[in-house]
């Protein structure tokens, strides 16, 4: 087996060949957003145009750059030059780009979205191009501080060499050769890293629970269930830079003395699943997974486990049931997973993003990470911006950024001259904030006290044409459909809430309905087994807090101010139970 230095040198050489060798390099965004925008047709058109023009080029399918609104996104890098990005590419413009830019060497300024200096933001080449703006000045990118997403949209996620050439696996090599497991754990502790899966619990503390157990078999479980509508950053990481997650998982294993791990993904999301599996195979081939990694004596094994359709499968104990092949129903606690987890063995569960931070924390030090962010919320947050926004997509920004700036600056505000009405954050168990309440810092505590949560980073904006009662009904319809049915406060409570909200939507609500919902919500919070039922009233509570008047208009005036209620609504026929 080659030494790490030899591997890194080979990767570096390949990278230079790609970026400054003889051929142009064409990269196409092929994450879920790219697929939905039609990247497959664009790839076909590019291949055909290359043939037609008789030019040779390297064509790579990359992940998500974050500018999802502009998909299909294609960029062309002539040897040694900057990357020039084209947005909303069609098969027709793709042919034009190949003929003029790839074959002819002349970038198409009228079609270009911007350029990026080669090698990313700290690249060596920084040639301004006639009439083409610097993409780093785009509103979505100026605010960014890319830690986890540093390679997203830049490297080919199915080529481990490209990851290694961009400092990949240097942290693992450093940890295995120079650091004890305790030292790795200490860096994670120092970083102040908190879980990005929803509860924002200290990662170092959680790891310490697992490290403290000397059981011979333990597990690290990486949670990529990501069922929250409006959140796609976990899947995007797997599609864009799966090796950064794999490296983070291996480091978690080393720090906690664990030898086995799973990446848990919902079946059917083929892009993330295929890329995760390919990444594992390549990491094995390089000797980063398996027995005696890099001659350190440390052995580690990683596999992908799939689940069926179930939102609650993302809850940590339900996830363990699903990996064991059972119904994804949460377990009673105690015992906690760190004592009795997967297959009865001590286990630690972390979100994809949480684990994907770890390589950079080890490379650059816990202090560096702790220096980013705000107060007890250290580091960055990866936001998925969707709904009524000019620029929809994914950005990685320092925690502590103002939500208003995210919406009005980075995301470009609400299109078509409409006003913002509300934002929904943190997924279906999160809450809503009125447009007048968004002048707040994105920080775990601040958002929670405002009645919304940061959750997994989904931020959905709604313009003035939307009805808050209707949105609340939709969120509760989701929670009701997804309730696993194990405990009745949640199973019955969700159905009850939905019934009342549907009644209010039909303009048949009665004044007692609001207190009735509050009562049901209290019972759910007090009596439910897992977070689904405990937090499931959040959307209603926050909607009542910020939009009480609109509920009153529906109930007392029998009128929906936005007239959304006359539009037919559909949700699944029945809950699964």
């Amino acid at each position: 087996m080659a030494s790490f230095e030899e591997i890194a040198a080979e990767s570096q050489q390949r990278w230079e060949e790609l970026t400054a060798g003889g051929q142009p390099w064409i990269r196409i965004g092929t994450a879920l957003c790219g697929k939905a925008a039609g990247c497959d047709d664009v790839i076909e058109a590019i291949e055909a145009a290359l043939q037609q023009n008789g030019v040779a080029a390297q064509v790579s399918q990359v992940g998500c750059l974050g500018l999802c609104f502009a998909e299909p996104l294609v960029d062309v890098q002539l040897p040694g030059g900057p990357r020039v990005f084209y947005g909303s590419v069609t098969p027709e413009t793709a042919a034009e780009i190949v003929a003029n830019h790839v074959a002819g060497g002349a970038p198409l300024a009228h079609l270009a979205l911007g350029y990026l200096a080669a090698g990313g933001s700290d690249g060596t080449v920084n040639s301004a191009l006639d009439g083409i703006p610097d993409l780093n000045q785009h509103p979505m990118r100026v605010v960014e501080n890319r830690v986890v997403l540093r390679n997203a949209g830049t490297i080919d996620p199915e080529d481990i060499h490209q990851y290694i050439a961009n400092d990949g696996y240097h942290a693992l090599n450093q940890a295995l050769t120079e650091m004890s497991p305790e030292e790795v754990l200490e860096q994670v502790n120092t970083s102040g890293l908190r879980g990005r899966g929803g509860a924002a619990f200290s990662t170092g503390t959680k790891w310490r629970f697992l490290a403290g157990s000397n059981a011979p078999q333990k597990y690290i479980l990486c949670n990529c269930e990501e069922g929250d509508p409006g959140a796609f950053n976990d899947k995007a990481i797997l599609e864009s830079d799966p090796q950064t997650l794999v490296e983070g998982i291996i480091l978690a294993g080393y720090a906690t003395g664990t030898s086995h791990a799973y990446i848990f993904i919902r079946h059917g999301h083929d892009g993330p699943i295929d890329r995760a599996r390919a990444a594992i195979v390549q990491a094995q081939e390089m000797g980063f997974l398996g027995e005696n990694i890099l001659d350190s004596g440390f052995s580690f094994h990683l596999e992908v486990a799939l689940t069926g359709d179930s939102y609650v499968a993302g809850e940590e104990s339900a996830m363990m049931e699903a990996i064991e092949g059972k119904r994804a129903m949460p377990r009673f606690r105690p015992p906690f997973p760190a004592q009795v987890g997967l297959f009865g063995k001590p286990s630690n569960i972390n979100n994809v993003k949480t684990l994907a931070y770890v390589p950079q924390i080890i490379s650059r030090g816990g202090e560096w990470f702790a220096g980013i962010g705000h107060d007890q919320s250290t580091g960055t947050v990866i936001l998925c911006l969707t709904g009524d926004l000019k620029y929809t997509g994914m950005i990685e920004v320092p925690l502590g950024i103002n939500l208003k700036d995210v919406l009005y600056e980075a995301a470009g505000g609400v299109p078509d001259g409409k006003a913002l009405k509300l934002v929904q954050t943190g997924g279906p168990l999160g809450g809503v904030l009125g447009a007048g309440n968004i002048d707040i810092l994105l920080d775990f505590e601040i958002l929670r006290s405002a009645g919304a949560i940061l959750g997994s980073g989904g931020i959905i904006a709604a313009n003035e044409d939307n009805c808050v009662v209707d949105l609340t009904r939709s969120l509760i319809a989701f929670c009701q459909y997804e309730s696993c049915g194990k405990c009745f406060p949640c199973r019955m409570g969700m159905s009850h809430l939905l019934e009342v909200l549907e009644r209010i939507c039909r303009l048949e609500g009665v004044p007692e309905d609001l207190d009735l919902m509050r009562k049901v919500g209290q019972d759910m919070q007090a009596g439910s087994l897992c977070g689904h039922g405990q937090l499931g009233f959040n959307p209603v509570a926050s909607a009542l807090r910020y939009f009480g008047e609109e509920f009153d208009t529906h109930i007392l005036d029998r009128r929906c101010p936005t007239e959304v209620c006359s539009v037919p609504r559909f949700s699944p026929v029945a809950s699964r139970r």
Partner: protein, 157 residues
Amino acid sequence: MDGLKPRIADAMHRQSQPTVTVLSTLLAVQDELGFIPKEAVEEVAAFTGSTINDVWAVASFYPNFRFEPPCLHQVEVCWGASCHLVGAMPVIEAALQASGLETEGDTPDGRLTLRYNTCLGACSQAPVMAIDHHLIGRATPESAKSRIADLLAEQNG
């Protein structure tokens, strides 16, 4: 249902991941056949050393499993919040109309299954639908209608 058994066995054995469970085996069978026939429940139970009851418990829990042979095409429309807010409901309405369905389900001629999906993962391209697992972003009632009409008009599917 002759001829299914070898395919079931093959799908069960072809699983390459180290951890093989009732759920992983059911997913493998459904990937192969598009549904879980009755005999597969028995086969999966025998293969995983569990009872028929256990297997049914798992299969009936996850709504992605179906127990009838699949239709020729599968149409999914997302009703998640991001899609909901930018027009998923009119898209669903159009999809239902075009397929002649009143709610989720199969068309009587077996050509098409329509399902609501909670999130297809391409929320930044909302509203999103998928035809035979191929994602389509920025769907409109018109585009949904014409794509479904195309599927229904296909010769021999």
